[in-house]
C-alpha cells in the first residue's frame, strides 16, 4: 500500500467524523498552546530580569566586605566582616588601570522630613559623584552630587523620584531643605523616574555625600563598593586587582567578596530557565491527557469500524497495513491539534505582548519544537495500542457483525 493512500484513507476517516476529530484535536491544541504561552512568559521574565541587570552596566564589579566562598551566588547577607571596607580602600582601587571608576556606597535608614512637617523613613545612600555614571542614573531635575573630596561631607542631597513626590507633592523640591535625622540638607537634584527596577529601588531613596552619611550613621564601614572596569575584557584583571589591593591594605588578608555583573546575570538566568522548564513540564501534562483522549477515541473508532477492518483484511490488507492506517490516523489527529495549538499559542503570546508592551514575552524556538514534537509523539505512542488492537482483529469474527 502506498504511503499517500494511507494518508488519504486516514484523512477520509478523520473527516467523516468531523466533530469528534475537532474536539480531540482541540485537546492537543490546548496542550501545545499552553506549553508555548507559559514558556513565552517564562522567557519573557528571564529577558526582563536580565535586561534590568544589564542596564546597570555590564562592566560592573560589586565589592562586599567579608569573604564568601560562594561563587556567583547572592551577596552574603550574614557574612562575617572581619575588617571594615573603608572609603580609602575604595579609592585605592582606582590606582589600577583596569578600573575606570569606583563609587563607594553606604546605606542606612533615617527619617526624612520637610519644613512643612511631612516625615518619612527613607533609605539613605551615601556615595560620590561617580555613582551616577556607574549605576547609569538619570537626573530629572537639578544635578547629581558634584565631584568633591570624598572625605569631606556637604549638606546636599539628591532625592529619588518617589521620595520627592511624597515629600513635596507637585511643588518644586529643587533648592528646598530637608531634614535627615537631625541634620539639614539642601535638595540639589531629583532623579528621573527609573520605572521598574531590580535590586535597589532608586525611586525610593535619598543620596547624600559619603562622608555626610558616615557622620550621620556614625559608621566608617562601607556597605559595598561599585567598581566599573574599563571594558568587559578587563573584568578579570579588575577582579584580581581588587583582591590584591584590598589584601595589601588589610595586612595581607583578602577579606572581600567580588561579584561581577556577569555571574549575577548568569545565576539569575539559570534560575529563570529552571522556572521556564518547570512550567513547560507542568503544561506538558495536558499533552499527556490529550494523548489519552486520542487513545480513547481511537479505541472507540476501532470498535465502531470492526466490519470495515474485517473487510479490509478479507480483501487482502495485511496486519502491518491495518496497524499503519490506524497509527497514521492517530498521529494525524495529534498533528492537526499541534498545528492548531501552535497558531493558538503564538496568537496568545502576541496578544500578551500587545497588552503588556513593557514585558518582553518571546516564544523560544526550542519550546515550539519540543511542544510540537511531544504532541506528535503522544499521538504515536497512544495510537499504538488501538492500532495493534485493530490489526489483531479476526476477520471472520469482525465480518460476522452486521
Amino acid at each position: 500500500m502506498r504511503a499517500l493512500d494511507i494518508v488519504g484513507l486516514a484523512t477520509g476517516a478523520l473527516t467523516s467524523n468531523l466533530n469528534r476529530t475537532v474536539l480531540i484535536a482541540m485537546a492537543t491544541a490546548i496542550g501545545v498552546s499552553s506549553v508555548l504561552m507559559l514558556t513565552s512568559l517564562g522567557e519573557g521574565a528571564r529577558r526582563f530580569v536580565i535586561g534590568q541587570f544589564e542596564s546597570l552596566g555590564t562592566n560592573l564589579l560589586i565589592v562586599l566586605p567579608g569573604r564568601s566562598e560562594t561563587v556567583g551566588g547572592p551577596p552574603p547577607v550574614m557574612g562575617e566582616t572581619p575588617r571594615d571596607l573603608t572609603v580609602d580602600d575604595a579609592f585605592a582601587l582606582t590606582a589600577h588601570p583596569s578600573i575606570r571608576q569606583i563609587a563607594p556606597v553606604m546605606v542606612g535608614n533615617a527619617p526624612v522630613s520637610t519644613a512643612d512637617g511631612l516625615e518619612r523613613e527613607v533609605t539613605v545612600l551615601g556615595s560620590t559623584a561617580e555613582l551616577a555614571s556607574v549605576r547609569r542614573l538619570t537626573i530629572g531635575q537639578g544635578r547629581f552630587l558634584p565631584p568633591m573630596d570624598p572625605s569631606r561631607g556637604a549638606p546636599i542631597c539628591v532625592l529619588g523620584y518617589e521620595v520627592r513626590t511624597e515629600l513635596f507633592g507637585t511643588a518644586t523640591a529643587y533648592g528646598r531643605w530637608v531634614r535627615i535625622s537631625d541634620r539639614r540638607f539642601r535638595v540639589i537634584g531629583v532623579l528621573a523616574d527609573s520605572g521598574v527596577s531590580v535590586g535597589v529601588d532608586f525611586n525610593d531613596l535619598v543620596i547624600i555625600p559619603v562622608a555626610s552619611a558616615q557622620a550621620l550613621f556614625d559608621r566608617e564601614s562601607l556597605f559595598r563598593v561599585l567598581a566599573e572596569a574599563r571594558s568587559p575584557d578587563d573584568l578579570d584583571a579588575a577582579n584580581k586587582a581588587i583582591h590584591r589591593i584590598i589584601a595589601a591594605r588589610h595586612e595581607g588578608e583578602d577579606d572581600v567578596t567580588v561579584i561581577t555583573q556577569d555571574s549575577v546575570v548568569e545565576t539569575l538566568g539559570r534560575i529563570l530557565d529552571a522556572l521556564t522548564y518547570g512550567v513547560a513540564g507542568i503544561s506538558a501534562i495536558s499533552l499527556a491527557v490529550a494523548g489519552i483522549l486520542i487513545m480513547n477515541v481511537m479505541l472507540v473508532s476501532v470498535a465502531q469500524r470492526r466490519t470495515e477492518i474485517g473487510l479490509m483484511k478479507a480483501i487482502g490488507a495485511d496486519t502491518a497495513t491495518i496497524r499503519r492506517l490506524f497509527l497514521v490516523e492517530a498521529v494525524m489527529l495529534a498533528t492537526v491539534g499541534a498545528a492548531a495549538g501552535l497558531i493558538l499559542g503564538l496568537a496568545g503570546t502576541a496578544l500578551i505582548a500587545r497588552l503588556y508592551p513593557a514585558f518582553p514575552v518571546q516564544t523560544p524556538i526550542w519550546a515550539i519544537v519540543v511542544a510540537v514534537m511531544v504532541a506528535v509523539a503522544t499521538g504515536l505512542v497512544f495510537g499504538v495500542l488501538p492500532a495493534r488492537r485493530a490489526a489483531r482483529l479476526d476477520p471472520v469474527e469482525a465480518l460476522s457483525q452486521r
Binding site: 487482502g316 490488507a317 495485511d318
Partner: protein, 229 residues
C-alpha cells in the same frame, strides 16, 4: 485450483467440541461453477471461510493453486487473498463513508496500484455493473441491488481467479437477486472466473453446474451436470 483433503474445523463451546466442518475432501478445477448448499448450521459458511483463507482448519490439507497454504502466515494468506480472491458478502460490507468508486478502488489501493491505472480500472468495473452514473454516491444513497453491484465491482476489479459469494442474494428482493446471479454467471461464462457460491436458496443453488450439499459439516452429495428438477 482448490484441493481440500480431510479438512476439519473444530469449535470449542464450553466443554463440548463441535466439528463445524468434518473431514471434507473437495477438488475444484479452474473455471468451475459450484454451489454449496445446506441447512443453516451445516457448516457451509465455515467451509467458505476456510476456502477463503480467512479461517484456519483444525486439521487436514489445503493446497491452493498447487501451493500448500496450511503453514503460511497471516500476511502471506492476505497476499493470496489480495491477488486471487474476490469476495461478495451477504451484507455488502461497503464502507459507508466512501463513495461507490472509492469502495471499488479499495482492493487496488491495497495492491499498491498506481492512481491512474486505478481510476481506469474502477471506471471499467463500474461500467460493467452499469453503475457509472452512481460512482460518486455513497452506499446509503444506493438501492440494495446497486449496493450489491458495487460489491461485485469491488470483488472483480482486481480480476481474481476465484469469486467467493456468501449468500449473494440473501439480502435482496427476487428481481434484484435474479439480476445479481445473472451478473455473476456472466462473469463466469465470459471471463472464465471460478465461481463458488454459498446459499441456502435451492433455486439459486440449482443453477450451478456442480452442486455440493453439506449436512452436519460433511459432504452429503456432490452432483455435476444440469439439474434434473
Amino acid at each position: 485450483m482448490i484441493e481440500l483433503r480431510g479438512i476439519t474445523r473444530t469449535f470449542v463451546l464450553g466443554d463440548s467440541r463441535v466439528n463445524a466442518v468434518d473431514e471434507v475432501d473437495l477438488h475444484v478445477e479452474p473455471g468451475e461453477y459450484l454451489s454449496i448448499m445446506g441447512p443453516s448450521g451445516s457448516g457451509k459458511s465455515t467451509l467458505l471461510n476456510l476456502i477463503a483463507l480467512l479461517d484456519r482448519p483444525t486439521g487436514g490439507e489445503y493446497r491452493f493453486e498447487g501451493r500448500d497454504v496450511i503453514g503460511l502466515g497471516d500476511d502471506e494468506l492476505a497476499a493470496i487473498r489480495r491477488a486471487s480472491f474476490g469476495f461478495i458478502f451477504q451484507f455488502f460490507h461497503l464502507i459507508p463513508r466512501l463513495s461507490a468508486a472509492q469502495n471499488v478502488e479499495l482492493p487496488l489501493i491495497l495492491a499498491a496500484i498506481a492512481p491512474t491505472e486505478r481510476r481506469r480500472r474502477v471506471s471499467e468495473a463500474l461500467a460493467a455493473m452499469d453503475l457509472s452514473d452512481r460512482a460518486s454516491h455513497r452506499p446509503a444513497e444506493l438501492s440494495g441491488g446497486q449496493r450489491q453491484r458495487v460489491a461485485i465491482a469491488r470483488a472483480t476489479v482486481t480480476r481474481p481467479a476465484l469469486l467467493l459469494a456468501d449468500e449473494p442474494t440473501g439480502n435482496l428482493d427476487t428481481a434484484s437477486g435474479q439480476q445479481m446471479v445473472e451478473l455473476l454467471e456472466r462473469l463466469h461464462t465470459e471471463q472464465g472466473v471460478t465461481l463458488l457460491m454459498v446459499t441456502h436458496d435451492p433455486d439459486l443453488g440449482r443453477r450451478a453446474r456442480r452442486r455440493i450439499r453439506l449436512i452436519d459439516g460433511r459432504i452429503d452429495s456432490d452432483q455435476c451436470g444440469v439439474s434434473s428438477s
